[in-house]
């Protein structure tokens, strides 16, 4: 008797890496169409509006780039840590601390010119966010305290701290209704590219992508991070300091997420601290990094596509179709991609004729599996 069985693949095939995500996106939109149909909404109208608001038109594409910027940075932040098997769930809070740090620096450097003040606030934001991430990194390095839990809950503390600042010491008393922080000096606004609405923040994010690609995939340091994350015994044997690397990786991860916060502050944030500034990008960044399998080039592509989905979703409100359909489509695409990834890591193989029980090397019996 010959039969079939599932065997684990060592590496996903090219087809599964390229074709499956495309199928998953199609499946996600089909699922969204079904949900729209059940709700009695016009499917064609909804998807046309989403397309025109994102890739379909010039102004739409500008909006996509504006959303892709923080998303790319957060995706990169999570990727850096994930390469060492460290889960940074805290990019959302690190974005907030980045914006807070930048605001603090901006309030104290109002007399500077545009370039120095921008350099100062980006540095300030990155350092503040990196230090915030160290709160999770230090106990992880010293006593192995789970960084997933700590980074997750630091988010809420950071976001509430931001809220306390703009309702308290940094409150702009001229603002009525929603609370805002006092405006940053005008020199602190990020320059726009040509006559678009896109700031040079997108170049900062792309530069970060190139730098992180070089660090992770082209440098010795990046290689040692992967060893330290993958095989603790091998790392010890090679004399790699694991604790030191955890601190480095989470500081860098936090700092990169902090850059996203500074860009939100100086660009679409309108030059002042406000609630909702982080916009969930920190959480979506985790999904972006994971869907891109922590490959930096793929993070760039996934961030852009996800940003298009977010942008398209906001356009639905004006058509009278609930914009929550965009979240349903997002989630279903991710679920279909995850299913594809899971199935793609297995392959169907024909089993050999089972005359005798499958031979196993003697050494493998007794081995812990």
């Amino acid at each position: 008797m010959r039969g079939w069985r599932l065997e684990k693949r060592t590496a996903p095939s090219l087809a599964s890496r390229v074709v499956q995500p495309i199928l998953a996106v199609i499946a996600g939109f089909v699922f969204g169409a079904i949900v729209l149909a059940i709700g009695g909404h016009d499917i064609g109208n909804a998807y046309k509006a989403m397309w025109e608001a994102s890739f379909g038109t010039g102004p739409g594409f500008e909006q996509v780039l504006i959303r892709a910027t923080p998303l790319l940075l957060c995706g990169l932040a999570v990727t850096v840590a994930l390469r060492m098997n460290i889960w940074n769930i805290g990019a959302e809070g690190q974005m907030a601390m980045g914006a807070i740090g930048a605001t603090f620096v901006a309030y104290h450097t109002t007399s500077l010119g545009s370039l120095p003040i921008l350099v100062a606030i980006f540095l300030g934001g990155a350092v503040a966010a990196g230090l915030w991430a160290l709160i999770a990194a230090i106990p992880r390095a010293l006593v192995g305290l789970n960084e997933i839990i700590v980074t997750l809950f630091l988010n809420y503390i950071a976001l509430l701290f931001l809220s306390a600042l703009i309702n308290g010491p940094w409150k702009d008393h001229a603002s009525i209704g929603q609370a805002y922080g006092r405006r940053l000096p005008t020199q602190a606004a990020l320059p726009l590219i040509g006559n678009t609405k896109v700031t040079i923040g997108i170049f900062i994010a792309l530069a970060a992508a190139i730098g992180i690609y070089w660090l992770l995939d082209r440098s010795r340091a990046g290689f040692s991070l992967q060893i330290a994350g993958g095989n603790v015994r091998a790392a010890r044997y090679l004399g790699l300091g694991i604790g030191r690397r955890i601190l480095f990786v989470l500081f860098l991860s936090g700092a990169v997420a902090g850059l996203a916060g500074v860009i939100q502050l100086t660009a679409s944030g309108g030059g002042r601290l406000q609630e909702g500034l982080t916009g969930g990008y920190g959480y979506i960044g985790i999904l972006v990094a994971f869907l891109a399998r922590t490959k930096v080039q793929a993070v760039v592509v996934v961030a852009l596509l996800y940003a298009a989905l977010l942008t398209g979703g906001t356009a639905l409100q004006s058509t009278g179709i609930p914009s929550s359909i965009a979240e349903i489509i997002q989630a279903s695409i991710i679920i279909f991609v995850l299913i594809g990834q899971a199935l793609g890591s297995y392959k169907l193989v024909r089993t050999a004729p089972a005359k005798s029980p499958p031979a196993r090397p003697a050494a493998a019996i007794g081995e812990a599996s």
């Binding site: 701290f161 989630a331 679920i335 995850l338």
Partner: protein, 310 residues
């Protein structure tokens, strides 16, 4: 004194959905599966429970429907993470997005309608006569008592029965449990499904009993507080009760202070559940490191793979 009794009494009400959702997450985590989708499951439970409540006028069926809907999302998490061995963190976050989107979509037509049913307060004989404590704990609605009894029953089952042993075994050492004949996958499926059911009931309690109305993202982060609660309780079911009371009390205190016009920034008070959780985590972790008895299940977050069999 009245101020504090009021705050504590409201704290018990606000702690009830946290106790339900927290118990659900605790059961799933004790089986080795972390589910960061509690917020999404609570929202689905809240909206479906509310819709059924509006149509049937029955709080009972609203709770059942909320639990059923939350259970469906729980099963999705189980199928993805236990069946397909998808990463639990990523799937949980996705579940939150799905639950947020679906609940807003379903709830779009229920925004303006208040739920008119009312869950009356039941005074427990004798106990409700105890000064202060009686008013705080024993003059509450039936769901509060159900929450307390459910948590205590769960604690007994988890700590003292064979089924509880199977649950703990699956979360601590699934390979050993498997070798001992425990159906690892079945236990994990049931635990994660129960997690969804309880989160759904917690959500339905919020929309049907507490706010008696639906608005988008009604749970306002309580799903995340429920996850914090599990860690605050060091994965011990009985400690969920004082934890839920404390976190509920903090929220109630915040409302009352604002109503009184006390100018203490409410954000610092709202931060407390997370700060307490991190402090408890740090203390317990450093004191019990390397010794058994520390609560975090050994195999939390790790998919179980049966090797060498077919």
């Amino acid at each position: 004194m009245n101020f504090w009794v009021d705050a504590l009494s409201t704290g018990v009400v606000l702690g009830t959905p946290l106790a339900f959702a927290g118990l659900g997450e605790l059961i799933a985590e004790r089986a080795g599966v972390i589910n960061l989708g509690v917020e999404g499951m609570m929202l689905i439970g809240a909206v479906v429970g509310f819709a059924v409540g509006i149509h049937t006028g029955s709080i009972f069926w609203a709770m059942v429907a909320g639990g059923f809907a939350g259970g469906l999302l729980g099963l999705l998490h189980a199928a993805m993470t236990i069946g397909l061995k998808v990463n639990q963190i990523v799937m949980g976050l996705t579940l939150t997005i799905l639950g947020t989107g679906l609940s807003s979509y379903i709830g779009a037509s229920y925004g303006n309608e208040p739920f008119k049913g009312h869950l009356s307060k039941i005074d427990i004989p004798l106990l409700s006569k105890i000064p202060w404590i009686g008013e705080i704990l024993f003059e509450q609605d039936i769901m509060v008592y159900i929450a307390i009894v459910t948590v205590i029953a769960a604690a007994l089952i988890i700590n003292r029965t064979r089924h509880g042993l199977a649950l703990r075994g699956v979360g601590e050492a699934p390979a050993a449990a498997d070798a001992a004949g425990v159906p690892v996958f079945t236990v994990r499926y049931i635990a994660v499904w129960l997690g969804g059911v309880l989160a759904g009931i917690g959500g339905a309690y919020l929309s049907v009993v507490y706010t008696q109305s639906w608005s988008n993202e009604l749970t306002a982060g309580r799903g995340w507080i429920a996850i914090a609660l599990v860690i605050f309780a060091s994965w011990r079911p009985l400690l969920l009760l004082p934890g839920a009371l404390l976190f509920g009390f903090i929220e109630a205190l915040n409302f009352q202070l604002q109503a009184k016009g006390v100018s203490i920034p409410s954000q610092y008070l709202s931060m407390m559940p997370y700060v307490f959780t991190l402090v408890v985590l740090a203390i317990v972790w450093t004191r019990q490191r390397g010794r058994s008895g520390w609560g975090m299940p050994e195999s939390l977050g790790i998919a179980y793979e049966r090797e060498g069999r077919s």
